[in-house]
């Protein structure tokens, strides 16, 4: 039996349901009862209970695309900050996709401190040791563009169902946008005003992630800004 409605805002300790539901996220079971463990929005579908978090840190999991920042260099690779309690380890062989003779090559030519890197989480073991790989096309060191940090829990909204939100933003603004599950977003565009428009759109998504009809409002907002820019003239 459910004690709350779909899309209701719940707080830790709040009774969600009694009985044989399946907890996907944000709740825990005590005997026959299920309680929320975080502040979030209830997403109730069939027998599944999910509390969508409104805040929270990023915890790396296998398969996630992430945007990291190099914070340490060692003999065989780099340590990346992932905007998380856990750092990522990137071995040089996972960046270059080949065996590297460390005696012959100086790896600092590939990545140095402060570099921004697009990577995939290859593995996370039970000791929370995170292995990254960045050899695929579109991965690796990132240059130019603007880096933004959003609350990681809002990223699914930035991407949208089947990528609809990010596509809408790219189409409307002409900018290229890459998103990491860890809350970081890269924006590239020729016109800084367009880049700023995308920034505004992302901030709007962060504020209103829990509402419906967001994709349309974002598209409308972007179109308005772009109209203004066109009227102002010059690119």
């Amino acid at each position: 039996m459910l004690h709350i409605q779909n899309r209701e805002l719940v707080v830790p300790g709040q009774l969600i349901a009694e009985g044989g539901y399946f907890i996907r996220e944000g709740a825990f079971r005590e005997g026959d009862r299920i309680y929320a463990s975080i502040v979030g929005l209830a997403d109730l579908r069939g027998q599944n209970i999910r509390i969508i978090p409104l805040q929270g840190r990023y915890i790396p999991k296998r398969g996630d695309a992430v945007i990291g920042v190099v914070i340490d260099v060692h003999r065989s690779g780099w340590i990346l900050d992932l905007n998380s309690p856990y750092v990522g380890n990137l071995f040089v062989s996972d960046l270059l996709q080949r065996k590297v003779d460390l005696l012959m090559e100086d790896i600092s030519q590939y990545l140095s401190m402060g570099d921004v890197v697009m990577a995939n989480v290859k593995d996370v073991n039970e000791l929370m040791r995170v292995q990254l790989e960045a050899g695929e096309a579109g991965m690796g060191k990132v240059t130019g563009g603007k880096l933004m940090e959003l609350t990681p829990t809002k990223i699914p909204r930035v991407i949208g169902r089947k990528g609809s939100m990010i596509a809408a933003m790219q189409n409307a603004s002409g900018c290229q946008i890459k998103v990491g599950q860890n809350g970081r977003v890269m924006i590239w565009g020729d016109d800084p005003r367009m880049v700023n428009a995308v920034v505004e759109a992302l901030l709007m998504i962060e504020r209103e992630a829990h509402t419906s009809g967001l994709t349309d409002r974002v598209r409308l907002m972007l179109e308005n800004i772009i109209e203004k820019i066109k009227l102002e003239g010059g690119t």
């Binding site: 900050d81 402060g114 570099d115 921004v116 990132v142 240059t143 603007k146 880096l147 800084p192």
Partner: protein, 254 residues
């Protein structure tokens, strides 16, 4: 703990500076939104909460009896202490004030002391034995850059709104505050000078200069910080910026 600045962010801000633009779309000589609230804490004789954009700083002033300094037996005592509370930033650690907290406190102190803002000679009780001590405690609450200007403004605003009723043995008609020194910090990024740096700008700047000016534009304190350098021309420009921006901050003391 240190702040990691990605190369992308650094390049972005530096390139914007070259175009005389800033990461939050402000002009080079533009302050963030300023707000000052006073009288928030009762045990303090004076208190002020200052917000510069997202930066929030709280100052509390208490008056107590104390022994005078030996070389100024009939002058009151001014002590300024600053805490970079771990509340305010992931990079602040609990513990004794570090070099940043101490520098900040001393810069604020200098602005108040060198301007003669407080008439310390009026704060004597028994010359050589007992005087009034003014303790200014500044607590950072939320760090988004330019803690110095926010702290200095909080301190002087608190001092201009002192409630002295209730201090045992206090005989003065009011608290002897007479000047309004204002600190303005200017950051140098890619050869461009900009006022009121936000955190992103602070993390990327080459150097900063804080200039504390009085109502008539005279300077009572200065402090250069960071490992970069300033040319004499840049200093002149910085002074102009400080002098022209100070009134904007000063008017919030009312």
């Amino acid at each position: 703990m240190y702040e990691i600045v990605s190369s992308v962010k650094r390049d972005y801000i530096v390139d914007l500076a070259r175009q005389e633009k800033r990461v939050d779309t402000r002009a080079l000589d533009q302050n963030r939104e300023i707000s000052v609230e006073t009288g928030l804490v009762k045990p303090a004789q004076g208190s002020a909460l200052v917000k510069l954009g997202n930066t929030q700083v709280f100052a509390g002033v208490k008056i107590e009896r104390a022994e005078p300094y030996p070389d100024s037996p009939s002058s009151g005592v001014l002590m300024v202490n600053a805490e970079l509370l771990p509340l305010a930033s992931p990079t602040f650690e609990p513990g004794r004030p570090d070099e940043n907290a101490i520098e900040l406190a001393r810069v604020v102190d200098r602005g108040i002391r060198e301007s003669g803002a407080i008439d310390l000679d009026k704060l004597s009780i028994t010359p050589g034995e007992e005087v009034w001590a003014v303790f200014v405690d500044i607590h950072m609450l939320d760090h988004d850059g330019n803690l110095i200007d926010a702290s200095a403004l909080a301190a002087i605003a608190a001092l201009w709104h002192m409630k002295t009723e209730g201090i045992e043995g206090w005989t003065l008609p009011e608290f002897p505050i007479r000047k309004k020194p204002i600190a303005v910090t200017i950051a140098k990024i890619n050869e461009k000078l900009m006022v009121d740096p936000c955190l992103d700008e602070e993390n990327v700047m080459d150097a900063r200069i804080t200039i504390t000016t009085m109502e008539d534009g005279s300077i009572c304190a200065m402090q250069k910080g960071g490992i970069g350098c300033f040319t004499p021309e840049e200093l002149e420009l910085a002074y102009e910026l400080a002098r022209s921006r100070a009134p904007e901050l000063r008017k919030h003391i009312e």
